[in-house]
């Protein structure tokens, strides 16, 4: 009788073990997908932060002529000079892209807040690298943000956040500024009809503000909204 009892226990244990194995293999995809969907949410979270920070970067750099750190040749308010006493000082599009990238690189962590929104995960992060590409109708970000995500025994690594787009016409705005400067280089006065034709062609509004010997240009684009606010891009000209 004792032997029969021991066998019963072993059978029960065997059933449980087999049951667990079958259960595991039956539901392993769901288990994996449960873990993967949380990983996706971390990805989406970072992507949202990139877009958010990216928008802030565009907004803030646009206020100073495409610079986050004002260049040496700028007004007392830190707005870059694009034209100084007959000389061309227009930054290249690449410089503006680098400034935006710089901002995102340094401020992204303030948005992700050490992933405190994901307490179930242990997430370590490495240095952020950002590539910004300004096109006519949009700005695209490629971000390398290496993250190691640990949960229990599972470790996942994600790092590439590519082709993140923001529909801002910064390329058009930059080219408008470039056209204004190129026109200015050919003359001493300011061709208002030329500037207004450029504004009309590109569906922009341009405000001029005189400050001593500087003239500030602010290009407003109602078609480029950052958090529902039209983008304003400013730069300055200095006249002799």
């Amino acid at each position: 009788m004792k032997k029969r009892g021991q066998v019963t226990i072993f059978i029960i244990i065997a059933i449980i073990v087999i049951g667990a194995i079958v259960t595991f293999f039956t539901f392993q995809d769901q288990i994996k997908s449960l873990f993967t969907s949380q990983e996706d949410s971390i990805y989406l979270f970072v992507e949202t932060c990139i877009k958010d920070v990216g928008q802030d970067a565009i907004y803030l750099t646009s206020q100073k002529g495409g610079y986050f750190i004002s260049p040496e040749l700028s007004t007392s308010k830190g707005i870059a000079y694009y034209y100084i006493n007959g000389e061309n000082n227009l930054p290249s599009q690449k410089i503006i892209e680098e400034q935006i990238s710089f901002y995102i690189k340094n401020m992204l962590s303030l948005c992700t807040q050490n992933f405190s929104d994901f307490p179930d995960f242990e997430i370590s992060q490495e240095q952020v690298d950002v590539e910004t590409d300004i096109k006519n109708e949009e700005i695209m970000f490629d971000v390398k943000y290496p993250l190691t995500i640990k949960k229990e025994d599972s470790v996942t690594r994600i790092e590439d956040f590519e082709n993140i787009k923001i529909p801002i016409r910064l390329g058009i705005i930059y080219n408008t500024a470039k056209e204004i400067i190129q026109n200015q280089l050919t003359r001493d006065d300011l061709c208002i009809s030329c500037i207004s034709n450029i504004a009309l062609e590109n569906d922009l509004k341009i405000d001029l503000t005189a400050e001593d010997e500087d003239l500030l240009f602010t290009i407003t684009d109602e078609n480029s909204l950052i958090k529902n606010v039209p983008l304003k891009f400013s730069f300055a000209n200095k006249y002799p």
Binding site: I69, N106, L110, C111, I192, S193, I195, I206, A210
Partner: protein, 693 residues
Amino acid sequence: MTKIKTSKVRIFLLISILMIIPLVSSDIFPTDYSEEMGLKKGTVIGWGLELKKQTTQEGDSDVTSYRLHFIDEGATLGVREDIFTNIVRELKSLHPTYIKFNEDGDIINADFTVNEDGGNYTFEGEVIRALPGSRIFFDIDTGVKVEVPDNTDLTSFPDLSEFFPEEIILKGENIQLPDDMELIDGELKIEDNGYYLEQGTLEYKQMLIDSDGVLIANSDADLSGYDGAWIKQTSSELGMQSIEGNSIQVEFLENHEILNTDTKDKLTINIENGDGLKFEERSDQGLVPEVIHKSSDNGETKIYNDKLEFSFKEDELSVSPPQGLENEDFLNKYQSVAIEIESDSSNINQKIRVNSYRQFAILSENDEELVTYNEYGLPISTKIEDNELQTLEQLREKYPELEFGIAEDSEFPEDMEESDFPAYLVYYTDLSLESHSDAVENLNKISYGNYLQAYSRPNSEIEIGRLLVDPSELESHSIKIRDVTNPLYRFQHEYEHQLDKLVMAEELTVIKNLNDPEITALFNKAEDEEINVLEETSKIYYEKYPEAMLHQKYNEIAIEAIEKLDETTNPLFNVLKENDDYVSALTGIPYAYSLENYNENKDASSSFYLELSSTYREQPIETRRMNVQSSNPTTSEIYTKLTQLAFDSGKMDIDEYKEIMGEDYCYDPDCLDRLCSEYKLLCCEEHPNSINC
């Protein structure tokens, strides 16, 4: 004996006569100069004259001419049938006084001044009636010019053409003429359809006209077919047209009928080489005058409107780059003339709208603003009523509840007169008051001084520096303090201080009524001793009660921001700190200035500087909106709190609140679900139905 005696007497008389005759002969007996001049006897005779012969080389031949100078009093010249008399002698006229002849005895040149009797003089068969004191110039190539004495008034002559028929040029300075005209300095001809200004400057219908040839046409003149330069003004229209090789400059004076100018307005136009302008009065529509520019192939038009210089040339409209304003410019003249300009040039499709405050806008054909200048978010309007407010007196009329005047007891010199107030300052004051509907109720006085800053003063007074609205007076350290360029923001800043004071006063009343023994004792003590009731009460209240006063809430935010700055390890901090941008970049607080006072006194209970409140509120709504939505949680949190504080304390209305926070931010249409969430002391008294109370 008698016979001899008689002979001796006759000889004596004859000798005497012969001796006397030479002495008087020149006055009585004319001299015939004809023979000396190689002319038939009797052609040229006169007295009191001196003949000078002149031989000059013209090409290969010698040319002889003769000048008869009028040297004696009453000198007279007869040339064939024509008499030249009543001429001031040379020594008295102080200029060469003569008539010059060629070898044929024709008058080719003359220069003489007519005496007090006036006279008629004939040149080339034309009789000139010369007014007393006139100086007559004649040249066979250019005709007769009559220079009247300075300041001569010719308005009493019903028909000046009697004295100045066509082809006779009137020359002089400050000559009053009929038809509301004054020849300032120059030469003009009187023609059937007006006055032709040959050269110089003329004042007409409140215009100073300067040209090298323009017809000032009668208002009813028909100029169709006229191919010269002209200016013509009627009661509703002013037109002007230049021609190739010609220019016209017009400076508009006070009270010009079409442009409605005043003493501070400054408008000058210059057209040349074929360009034209037409000004049309539109007061019946309530609009400022319209100006139509008529372009030409080689022409140019310049419009100097106060310090704005517009130029139409080669199918382009340009403006001169900004010039640094001098203080005197700002004191004396800061007013443009409100007009709207269109051009018939195919390449200039836009309208130019200039207001009375040196702002302009370029608009598309659909009246859409494409380019603006010094807009500062202020309207650039073509309505007369929007351009009329220009003096302090008008402000007083519009806002009788407020006092306007020069700042008293200011720490800055009071060297400003009311007449120095630029119109722009009046305009901006009006717009500031209009954009704050409760300002008239909350303020007592707006005063002005001759400096850059603005202040919130006791007794509900805001003090504004005149230079605050002058874009050229940007202080070099403004980036460290704040953006001082937009005048509306400056008013908002100071007004916010006033609102904070009102809130604090109301809070004190509520706190006093708590009947807290310690606080009550303080108020009692204040009746006998000089103590700072607000400061002392705040300290006690902050320690004992959970719902902080408004200024304490701001202090808490500021101190928290300072601590975050002190703690940050963000590498960006070190880079930004060099430019003082770090405060804004890392915490969202508007400027380093916003926290300046808190650094010294981290006392949340009783720090009263409240620059955080005012610098937040002076920022454009879109900036605050952006910051509420910032990806930086610190910035977002701070701006949400600052916005909530302004709303909870009643300083911000619901429309502005929703514009910043978003239309969907509140569930309740009156935002009762959000109200009083940050500040409760007065808010819950006012809105006890808020779910946060």
